[in-house]
Symmetry: C2
Subunit: 265 residues, 2 copies
């Protein structure tokens, strides 16, 4: 059991990161801790999902680089939907190159991610230079983007170990308030200053036949202390239409007891 | 000192990877082990560098995602220049996501990398799934691309250690002939089946004041046993024009004594 967060501390720190403040304010307003991952290859389909799930989410996660018909006006249209439905845009780019390269990858190219994303992420693998490069691209673009570091991966045979995760935590702390959190499967920072978004959430409880439940919203929020849940096709491509997913929605929203909600709501 | 490569073995293995064969054939024809890294943000500038250095190189390394004016016809134009000057196109994407995501990142989106690149690279971090995803995208596109794994990074404070590099080597061996080599600073595979391209090459010898020479062509080729050298602005943005860089060219080309050249030339 990790130590409780101190609301006082949380309040005083939160003002250092406008993006983090904005995310927490949205979460309070909408009583949602949900990030929907829209892994689609068509801009129209992306807009359609954004409109559909928009009212219920805090964050829409996308991969701009898989969209076949990405156009100059796509970011503006996404930003309009995000503003209207009150959510943030998270480009899941997983930057993983040296500083000078990520400056260009973040700020330039077809996608100009730094000009429209509210949140993006990076691997800690290249060392602190990757963070410095992304921060520099932000400063050049004149708008602030919040960075998440990938502290854990759930893919089979991945090379992240405890030492890697520890280094990642250290790098993230050093980079606050530009770095505001982690992609991980469990709480990383006991103070809660750096939050955790967890991917790989299974909406339907699945056991291993021995009474274990993994990666359900319950497990991740109550036992693992994560702050936000990333759900993909389980929501937008569910057999039932979105309206029929109120159970899911309910499951995700009914967590006033997790620690960060205790301090915030 | 690593064991010598056996020409017999090299000959029999090489036929398994058409891209590796093609690269080595180019290297023999042009007596070059040079990969030029063109880190520019304009398609016209990229074409201009490709035309300029094309006759002297084996590989042109680029970052499609930093090109501001990337257009539908850009890959065709690059392929035409590459075919005319006899070199390969290496998209330095450093894929680093789970399998299902890299399938789309490699095959789809604005850049459709799998449809034009001869070589691309990935981090081993996500585990073997990243390789499987890239291979699947290749199979879908109906053309073969050669994969390099990033086995070492030279950026300060990077999180790659010996254990990581070992895992990377194992993953690469398991994935041959789809995986044909490494981005690294030293030889990885004693047999030479999996070759090494080394970035961060310093064309002008720089010491540390104690007689040490790091990352010069001499050091990397003779002492470290790498196979190909990646050079960037040191060549295409040198104070003297390219024609004045014959010393550089000479330095890079005059290595008939390194082991793989012993077996090949």
């Amino acid at each position: 059991r990790q130590p409780s967060r101190i609301p006082q501390e949380l309040g005083s720190e939160s003002s250092m990161s406008p993006i983090r403040d904005q995310l927490y304010a949205i979460s309070r307003r909408k009583k949602s801790i949900l990030c929907v991952a829209a892994d689609v290859e068509s801009a129209e389909e992306l807009m359609s999902i954004a409109e559909d799930v928009g009212p219920h989410i805090c964050v829409l996660k996308l991969h701009a680089d898989i969209i076949r018909d990405w156009a100059t006006e796509t970011p503006k249209r996404l930003q309009e939907i995000a503003a209207r439905h009150d959510f943030l845009l998270f480009e899941d780019r997983k930057f993983a190159d040296i500083g000078s390269t990520v400056v260009a990858q973040f700020g330039s190219g077809t996608h100009r991610i730094a000009s429209w994303a509210h949140i993006t992420n990076a691997h800690a693998l290249p060392g602190p230079g990757v963070i410095d490069g992304l921060r520099q691209a932000c400063e050049s673009s004149g708008r602030m983007v919040g960075l998440l570091l990938v502290a854990q991966m759930s893919s089979k045979g991945n090379l992240i170990d405890g030492r890697y995760t520890e280094s990642c935590l250290r790098m993230a702390r050093d980079a606050f308030p530009f770095c505001i959190g982690f992609i991980a499967q469990e709480r990383m920072d006991p103070t809660g200053k750096l939050f955790v978004m967890a991917p790989g959430v299974q909406l339907e409880a699945k056991g291993d036949g021995l009474g274990q439940q993994y990666n359900t919203p319950e497990h991740l929020l109550k036992e693992k202390g994560v702050d936000f849940l990333i759900v993909g096709r389980g929501i937008y491509a569910a057999p039932e239409p979105w309206q029929g997913r109120t159970k899911v929605q309910g499951t995700i929203l009914e967590y006033p007891s997790i620690e960060y909600r205790e301090t915030l709501f």
